[in-house]
Amino acid sequence: MYKVIIYFIKKYIFSNRKEWLRSDSVFMVVGIIVSVATLTIAQAIFEGYETVLKETILGANSHIYVFLSSDGYLNKDNLAELDEFLTAQPEVAAISPIIITQVMASGNGKIKGALLRGINWQQENQPTLYREKVFAGTYDLSDENSTVIGSKLAQALNIKVGDKIKLISPMNSKMTPMGVKPKQQEFTVGGLYESGMYDYDSKYVFVNYATAAEFSAMEDEFSMLEVKLKPEFIEKADYLAYRWQVFLDYQYQISSWIDFNGNLFSLLTLEKWVIFIILSFLILIASFNVVSSVSTSIIEKRQELGILKAFGASHQLLQKIFVGKTLIISVIAVSLGQILGVLIAKFLSWQKFFVLKGDVYFLDKINVQFSVLSWLLILGVSLSIVILASFIPLRKISTLEITDILRGKN
């Protein structure tokens, strides 16, 4: 039976009359291509965003953060206890304490809020990637007047490597005869930091421990402890954080990157599926063209179909020929749609005219990614919709009356 079907489909597709070049076939094909391309682009952007956001978040943050449960900071004893406990855990790759305090940064007459981060900049294996994210200048915080600042902050203050920046802290103010005088100090920007996270790049100012301690008025104290996990445990960070917190008697508040960003990723996944479903309706609309195109083709061929029936072709056979023909055209159209979608998505990620709002979306570059799963999914969903649509007009074949056709009645 399949031989016969394939024979007929070949005949119709390669026939001199080229019926698939008619406007209704062209509309059908174009409709499928456009809707599939749109769906492909949307999925590529969502997946690219999800992946890059995760990479960026994990690249710019450690996996677990340890704070003191009560108000206050981690002191020497706390750190000793945590150090002993955490270095004994098989999941831990690196730990490092950090001082964080709010400052005002000013340069070139402009002023911005910033987050001062006092880090152990010399540590070889840092829980958070700093060295790797300094893209201009040098990563050297040995001098008490040297700093590395976020690229977006530098942009906002119009600062280049080698320029001066003044940091002002309200935390360590001094009473003077003139009134309260906040701590302020001038730094030389030695390097620029860029994580890709808009929020970080527009706020972070890195200094060494001593400088940070002075700005925050913290002596031998740290804001928190950052913990890096071995790669295979990253997805279990929330569970580990909880376990350690219990083990350490709730003396510390231990959170993971999942606690901070988990909702974001579930929301992204949800959104991705909602968009997928909504855009599938485009294919549904495109499939209306399939119904009309197949109908037209059946009506146009009704005499031929009647004759084939008179010579013994069953209407099941004739229906299969029409479904097969639609299937082949649809596979081609869907594939073209996917190729077009990939090309447009690639273009979107390459161009620089249109960018996302970094303060809203965390990232400002459009990233795209293509996965086999979504490729198969789009192929499957669109083919199913189109093929189901092509079934609708098939009833016309089974109700064909041969005698009407032979009498030339319409």
Partner: protein, 222 residues
């Protein structure tokens, strides 16, 4: 044993003005190897009768037997029956436009056997004997009216049917081509003992057949 036997066949059509009774009890029998002519005025129901005999339509009442076996157009195996036991030639050639002459002829056999090579070979044999071999790769619109009709006859014969129904096969041909086609059918009958039932209102043609039935007032008048 008659090849075909018909008892009391009745057929009517519903029309806006009421019921139009076209066939009011047809009785006839056709023996193997016979050539039968059915004559009658236009609108007397000749095509209707032929469609019923060829299982293309269902009668209101009455019975059709092939080799003493009751047949109905609604039978499950009717497609196969139409394909193998019956051949059709119509007033219009009704060849498929996208297919060449040889492909058109091969079609009923291809539908039956799914063997395209064998069907094409058989089609070429027929084209040879019909003097059309040079035209085998021509499309229907590249053939003359006479050639189209001969290709249609070849298509009706490829599955070696027991009986061929022809509905005014010369209706669209000029006198010369008409004579040629009838000559061909008579030869086929003589050489292969092929049974034909032919509708015609050309009495000259009807006279060349073994027997004639005249259809009038919905019944057969000999």
């Amino acid at each position: 044993m008659s090849l075909l036997k018909v008892e009391n066949l009745c057929k009517s059509y519903r029309e806006s003005t009421g019921k139009l009774e076209v066939l009011k009890g047809i009785n006839l029998a056709v023996e193997s190897g016979e050539m039968i002519a059915i004559t009658g005025e236009s609108g007397s129901g000749k095509s209707t009768l032929l469609h019923l005999l060829g299982m293309l339509d269902s009668a209101d009442s009455g019975e059709i037997f092939y080799f003493e076996k009751l047949k109905k157009a609604t039978d499950k195996d009717i497609n196969e029956f139409r394909n193998k036991t019956i051949g059709f030639v119509f007033q219009f050639h009704y060849l498929l436009e996208d297919f060449t002459a040889e492909e058109n002829i091969a079609m009923p056999m291809f539908l039956a056997t799914h063997n395209f090579g064998k069907s094409l070979k058989e089609a070429r044999n027929l084209l040879h004997s019909f003097d059309l071999y040079g035209r085998r790769e021509h499309y229907p619109n590249q053939l003359s009216g006479g050639e189209q009709q001969r290709v249609a006859v070849a298509r009706a014969l490829i599955n070696k049917p027991e009986i061929v129904f022809a509905d005014e096969p010369t209706g669209n041909l000029d006198a010369k081509h008409s004579d040629e086609l009838i000559g061909l059918l008579v030869d086929l009958n003589k050489q292969n003992n092929q049974t034909f039932v032919m509708v015609t209102h050309n009495l000259e043609i009807a006279d060349k057949m073994h027997r004639k039935f005249h259809l009038e007032y919905g019944v057969i008048i000999k």
